[in-house]
């Protein structure tokens, strides 16, 4: 098993799946799967709905933490917390992971750059030509048909120059001609890579595959080569395996050495810059968050200034409280949506698959949240001056708004990431975040009042420093916990 492959070619395995188990609820989605993959193979993964195909591919890509067992690529365990282990592995799932507001070329450049390939690299053009999307490169992804979008997903994967390509039902939205084009592309790629393709289509598998794996209820029932002479038809092999119901035994011997793998990775700064640049480009085009946050903040201020009868001597105190309440609600409703929107649209997957640390993903969103909250804070502060007729926009205010924005961005990014896949998250976000934000609000109000000379008390603690210290503690905790937050 160690050093063999079909057609007389002898290669070492590049992927080894060993005793992989994973439960999803009460179901054992993977019940001890073991197999190896070698460069130069197209392996088709067959199985009914719920057999465990998607779970297996997601575990192999590093998106899903196995319950037990291990996936090794070139001898290194693939884990969600080790970015290096994900380099050289590409996964195309059921959902689109490209960004609506970016063009086809921008999407592929983004994926390639996150995987350590330069934005002008020839592989980007080659991948787009391969899926016949080069002439549509300036079109926004949202303007593509479903089939074109599916091909774009393939281009996103191929542009990263992967040696292990995991494809989950890649033919679903494709017409006959596109299927043939994709088949030709995959056959071309197999010289330098291994492809594991999950599909229901047995006839297509028989035409395309060098080898077939059959999963049933999380067990591997068949692992057979299709390029051996005199083999029975695939349907007969499947029927025999299903009737026998004998799982392929888990590997127990000492594994032999594995094939090496070229792992491209971006530097941490380059990854961060790429993520931040994409965020700002998307916001500039979609204008989805900042304008809504500003309008909400101003509306709340208007509500406060109309709801209270404010004696002139109390105007500064009421203005201060109203400003912070407005900014905090705008933050909760706006900035917390960043990760949630990416999760809902499927785009977060592209970042989580890339060989970059989860901290970089968190950091990218944090920068955008910081800038958004800071900007909204400064605009709402200027409006507060007008509504309440107090000097609310001086340098002192700019300083406290920016300090508070660092802390608010940390809380919003942390809870935004935690609540991505939670029911009623719009309701739950304020419930969870407000108590944690309250110390920031208390500090903000105190500094504002000092700035407006409403209270000038030397006995008060150094609020600005306390808010910064609070932010530093929360940010450090977030960095420590970020791998667990994005585990699935």
């Amino acid at each position: 098993m160690a050093e063999s492959a079909g057609a007389g070619v002898v290669t070492r395995p590049i992927v080894r799946v060993n005793g992989l188990r994973r439960r999803l609820g009460a179901t054992e989605a993977l019940a001890g799967i073991s197999f190896e993959l070698r460069r130069g193979e197209i392996v088709v993964l067959l199985g009914d709905n719920g057999a465990g195909k998607t779970t297996l591919l997601r575990a192999m890509s590093g998106l899903l933490r196995p319950g037990s067992g291990v996936v090794l690529t070139a001898g290194r365990p693939v884990t969600h917390s080790d970015p290096v282990s994900r380099a050289g592995v590409a996964y195309v799932g059921h959902r689109v992971s490209s960004y609506d507001e970016l063009t086809v070329l921008e999407n592929v450049r983004f994926a390639a750059t996150l995987n350590g390939i330069g934005p002008a690299d020839a592989r980007i053009k080659s991948a787009l030509r391969g899926v016949e999307l080069w002439r549509f490169r300036s079109r926004r992804a949202r303007e593509l048909s479903r089939g074109m979008r599916q091909r774009l997903e393939l281009a996103l994967a191929l542009a990263t120059d992967p040696a292990v390509i995991l494809l989950d039902e890649p033919y679903n939205a494709l017409d006959g001609r596109s299927r043939e084009a994709v088949d030709a592309l995959l056959l071309e790629r197999k010289a330098n890579a291994v492809l594991l393709i999950a599909t229901h289509d047995t006839d297509h598998a028989e035409r395309l595959a060098d080898r077939v794996l059959l999963l049933q209820r999380g067990r591997l029932l068949l692992d057979a080569r299709l390029d051996e002479p005199g083999r029975p038809p695939l349907r007969e092999m499947i029927a025999n395996a299903v009737a026998a119901k004998t799982p392929i035994p888990e590997e127990s011997t000492q594994p032999p050495p594995m094939d090496s793998l070229a792992r491209h990775r971006p530097g941490p700064l380059a990854a961060w810059r790429t993520l931040v640049a994409r965020e700002f480009r998307a916001e500039l085009r979609s204008r989805e968050f900042i304008p809504a946050m500003v309008v909400l903040g101003v509306l709340m201020l208007m509500g406060f200034s109309m709801a209270f009868i404010i004696p002139p001597e109390d105007a500064a105190a009421v203005a201060s409280g109203s400003f912070w309440a407005s900014l905090i609600f705008a933050t909760i409703l706006g900035a917390v949506r960043g990760f949630a929107v990416e999760h809902d649209r499927g785009t977060l997957q592209m970042q989580l698959l890339a060989p970059i640390s989860r901290a970089a993903v968190f950091g990218g969103k944090w920068v955008v949240n910081f800038v958004s909250i800071g900007l909204v804070g400064l605009i709402v502060a200027a409006v507060t001056s007008g509504f309440f007729r107090v000097p609310f926009a001086g340098l002192g205010m700019v300083a406290i708004v920016l300090v508070a924005a660092t802390a608010l961005a940390t809380v919003a990014t942390l809870y935004g990431a935690l609540l991505t896949n939670t029911r009623a998250r719009e309701l739950l976000a304020p419930v969870l975040m407000l108590p944690v934000i309250l110390p920031i609000m208390i500090g903000g109000v105190a500094v504002s009042l000092d700035t407006l000379a409403v209270t000038a008390d030397s006995g008060d603690p150094p609020w600005l420093g306390l808010v910064l210290a609070y932010c530093a503690i929360l940010l450090s905790l977030s960095m420590l916990l970020v791998d667990f937050i994005f585990e699935d």
């Binding site: 439960r23 999803l24 609820g25 009460a26 179901t27 942390l414 935690l418 896949n421 939670t422 029911r423 009623a424 998250r425 739950l428 419930v431 969870l432 407000l434 108590p435 944690v436 309250l438 110390p439 208390i442 006995g459 008060d460 603690p461 306390l466 609070y470 503690i473 929360l474 905790l477 977030s478 916990l481 667990f484 937050i485 585990e487 699935d488």
Partner: protein, 228 residues
């Protein structure tokens, strides 16, 4: 367990006797001061409870042993109950001494913030269906929430506050007469034992609840298989 339960009941009985029969009446505050023994004891235990939530969460993330999650959740629930007692007894005392049940004093405010953080922690668990994910997310929220515990404790030193400073730490007996200090120690010990018993019972309840969920899921799966 029965021995611990018996010891807990004995300690509670002893503390009640000491609160109402042994500790002297406060010279200024009168009998109302006796609420202080339950107030301070439950406040101390709620700190311990919330620190256990963070430790349980951290251990769960590191080891993935469900026992740690059960301990964390049980501790959060009992911590919330004890914090409710802290707020209620504080309100009773404040009404008599300050003339107000509630004031936006830093210690009171941060105690209420703590209460909301762990109510949120318990609510969050009801909003996530997938058990492994629920435990993981709750662990992170429990760890992040514990940041408020030292802020709450230090609030009486950082800010000028109406709330009296720490009784046990500041200056030996903190100005308490020896019988009062002895009563406080016995009361805190009784509440600590009660906390231990409640954690044990609640964690067991969590385990049974998980087993019921497992059985329900297994029955559903078998039903689906039979239909197929």
């Amino acid at each position: 367990m029965k021995a611990v339960l018996a010891l807990t009941l004995l300690a509670i009985g002893a503390s009640q006797y000491m609160i109402f029969g042994y500790a002297p009446e406060h010279r200024v505050q009168g009998n109302l001061q006796r609420v202080f023994y339950a107030h301070v004891s439950t406040a101390l235990i709620s700190y311990i409870a919330f620190i256990i939530v963070a430790i349980g969460g951290g251990m769960y993330l590191a080891r993935r042993n469900v026992l740690w999650d059960r301990i964390a959740r049980a501790s959060a629930l009992i911590g919330v109950v004890f914090t409710t007692i802290v707020l209620a007894t504080g309100c009773i005392w404040g009404t008599g001494i300050w003339g107000a049940c509630w004031t936006w004093d830093p210690r009171l405010t941060t105690t209420l913030v703590l209460w909301f953080i762990y109510v949120g922690y318990l609510m969050l668990r009801g909003y996530i269906d997938e058990r492994e994910r629920k435990r993981r997310v709750a662990a992170v929220v429990g760890i992040a929430g514990a940041v408020i515990v030292p802020i709450n404790y230090l609030s009486v030193y950082w800010w000028r506050t109406l709330h009296p400073p720490s009784t046990l730490i500041s200056g030996g007996s903190g100005g308490l007469e020896p019988p009062m200090l002895q009563t406080l120690i016995v009361s805190a010990f009784a509440f600590l034992l009660l906390f231990g018993v409640l954690i044990r019972l609640q964690a067991r309840l969590e385990r049974l609840s998980d087993s019921v969920e497992d059985l329900r899921m297994a029955a559903m799966k078998r039903e689906m298989e039979m239909e197929a």
